[in-house]
């Protein structure tokens, strides 16, 4: 991103890289926690219903793997909050209560739910009733899911700020409606997509581990029964992720059309727009969207993007150039051009400067109604006041384009994969599986399942790349670009912590993987 300001460009880029590294690392643990929570909950439910110790041992085995991942993931998210306070202090101040409230609720709920129910889940076998233990296992998962909810509410607010008002005296956003913030439709669909995608990770992990046992011809009964549960959860979760992803796409079309245009490499919009199946977008450079009609070698699914974005096959979808130059919406209203938004942003900043100066000179608020009105009217485009060149508001298209295709492509592959695994375990159609027993296939079949574990993680992280790169340059959509949000730090200090994290995170990840592998190699402890 070109930066025309005096603030050290390295500080912005390294702070972004550091935040991305921490978030990507944190996101390695979260989806497995949410996903395995469902898998182990179902297994323990089988134990509760059958009273068969086989299910108890199976549930305990998956709980052990859940526990390792949970322990390794604890507190990795806290580092993001430190980074807010150090690297993104202007942003942290500006968001005010909006972040404070959901994150505080998250902290309290997570602490109480997790410290009680996780303890009962691990320490309570044979000490509490089976019903209470089962409830604790599900509540552990529910607690983690509720935590995710609050974090996603905070993230959704940055992407689509609602339920708040800017106070020029405190320089903070103040919450006017907690319900609007906590139940923002954008947050709801983000939550649904994120959580269902996390279940996929748990399912792929479960199926991959089971396939390893089948390949080694060990723990066959446990592997086959777990495989069934993993594949059912996986198939349901991928179908749900596709449906919720579709909804997430519609929301993006409404509130972040530039993100959608970048995801689709849609340079010029229109009606009856197709969804790009594939096109050549150079992964290493920003395309010449101003002069190219569309990305080269583009093959699309006719009308699909119009339908996805507007629920109408002939609906209008703006492209990057339309968004830069302004356009008339189907309802007749006009979306201002970036130049017009820049003017409005500048007005808001100038009014803020006048207001603050007047207040310092002791003038009462009542005499500053005009300044306040200008701020409120133009706050929506406040961040555009810092834009010097239209190109700054176009996100890096290659990352958005390819990350979106990796996520959706892997999603489609996983639907097929889970369906085949289910067909295998239930031997349907019987004729096909007569000679092929799923527990005695050539090894390469199992290797595919194991290889899908990292692939599913890549898809999941790609989802975040789309969500976060797609809203660049905004830390708060249309209100605060990265170069205003960042603290005036020396880039060298950020570089040091970046590499410190890289070493720390890599070590911890290696430790986690080695403990996990050791426990998988050891296998379940059977009670009899």
């Amino acid at each position: 991103m070109t930066n025309l300001l005096l603030i050290d460009a390295g500080t912005i880029e390294w702070s972004r890289a550091q935040f991305a590294l921490t978030a990507i690392y944190h996101w390695l643990f979260v989806p497995l926690t949410l996903g395995l929570a469902v898998i182990m909950g179902i297994m323990e439910t089988c134990y509760y219903r059958t009273k068969n110790n086989f299910w108890k041992d199976t549930a305990k085995f998956w709980q052990k793997l859940f526990g390792i991942n949970f322990a390794m993931g604890i507190a990795t998210g806290i580092i993001l909050e430190f980074e807010f306070g150090t690297n993104w202090s202007n942003y942290s101040w500006f968001v005010g209560d909006i972040f404070g409230a959901p994150l505080a609720v998250e902290g309290i709920v997570a602490f109480f739910m997790e410290s009680t129910f996780v303890a009962v889940m691990f320490f309570g076998w044979n000490k509490v009733s089976r019903g209470f233990h089962l409830a604790s296992t599900w509540l552990t998962g529910l607690g983690a899911t509720i935590s995710a909810w609050w974090i996603l509410v905070a993230n959704a607010w940055m992407q689509h700020p609602v339920g708040c008002e800017f106070n020029p005296d405190t320089m903070r956003h103040e919450m006017v409606s907690f319900a609007d913030v906590a139940l923002s439709p954008f947050a709801v669909s983000k939550f649904c997509h994120t959580v269902t995608s996390a279940w996929i990770i748990g399912a792929v992990f479960c199926v991959g581990v089971c396939c390893w046992y089948l390949m080694k011809k060990r723990e066959t009964k446990m592997a086959l029964e777990s495989l069934k549960i993993g594949a059912i959860v996986g198939l349901v979760a991928t179908l749900l992720a596709a449906a919720t992803g579709h909804k997430a796409g519609q929301d993006v079309a409404q509130v972040q059309p530039m993100k959608l245009a970048a995801m689709e490499a849609l340079y010029n919009g229109g009606t009856d727009v197709g969804l790009t199946a594939i096109a050549w977008v150079n992964p290493f450079s920003q395309p010449d969207y101003e002069n190219e009609e569309s990305a080269p070698l583009r093959i699309d699914m006719p009308y699909a993007l119009s339908f996805m974005a507007t629920n109408d096959f002939h609906g209008y979808v703006p492209g990057i150039n339309d968004l830069l130059n302004g356009y008339t919406k189907p309802d007749g209203t006009r979306e201002p051009s970036v130049d017009e938004k820049i003017e409005r942003g500048k007005k808001a900043i100038a009014a803020l400067a006048d207001y603050r100066k007047a207040r310092q000179e002791g003038l009462p608020v009542d005499s500053l109604r005009a300044e306040l009105a200008t701020i409120n009217e133009n706050m929506k485009y406040f961040g555009y006041g810092y834009i010097k060149d239209k190109a700054q508001v176009v996100p890096y298209i290659p990352i958005n384009f390819w990350a979106f295709r990796i996520m959706v492509g892997v999603g489609c592959l996983l639907i097929l994969f889970f369906a085949i695994v289910l067909a295998g375990v239930y031997k349907w159609p019987a004729k096909l599986w007569q000679k092929n027993d799923i527990s005695a296939l050539p090894n390469w079949h199992y290797w595919i399942a194991i290889a899908l574990i990292p692939l599913a993680y890549i898809a999941s992280e790609s989802g975040w790349l789309v969500a976060e790169f797609g809203r660049q340059p905004w830390t708060i959509q249309d209100m605060l670009p990265t170069w205003v949000a960042v603290s005036d730090l020396h880039s060298s200090s950020v570089i040091i912590t970046f590499f410190l994290f890289l070493i720390l995170f890599t070590t911890m990840l290696a430790v986690e993987i080695s403990i996990l592998l050791k426990q998988i190699k050891k296998g379940p402890d059977y009670s009899s």
């Binding site: 025309l4 300001l5 005096l6 603030i7 052990k64 526990g67 390792i68 322990a71 390794m72 604890i74 507190a75 806290i78 580092i79 430190f82 980074e83 306070g85 150090t86 690297n87 202090s89 202007n90 942290s92 101040w93 500006f94 303890a119 009962v120 691990f122 320490f123 309570g124 000490k127 509490v128 020029p168 005296d169 405190t170 320089m171 903070r172 500048k346 900043i349 803020l352 400067a353 603050r356 006041g385 810092y386 170069w483 205003v484 603290s487 005036d488 730090l489 200090s493 040091i496 912590t497 410190l500 720390l504 911890m508 430790v511 403990i515 426990q519």
Partner: protein, 73 residues
Amino acid sequence: MRKDSFIYRFFNLYYEGFKNMTLGRTLWAIIIIKLFVIFVILKVFFFPNFLKEHAKGNESAYVAGEFIERAEQ
């Protein structure tokens, strides 16, 4: 205290649980080292509260100054 009282059973769950941990010991050791690194080393030495250090108690004025100045640059 009666052994069937709720409080006894509640504390006993944690006491016995911690006492009989096997893999849990390693995990707790990792958690404690990690928390130490995060809260004592990283927070104290690498992640100071920027505004506390620079705004000297007047955060809103400092942030306003930054916002207005950066628009002029």
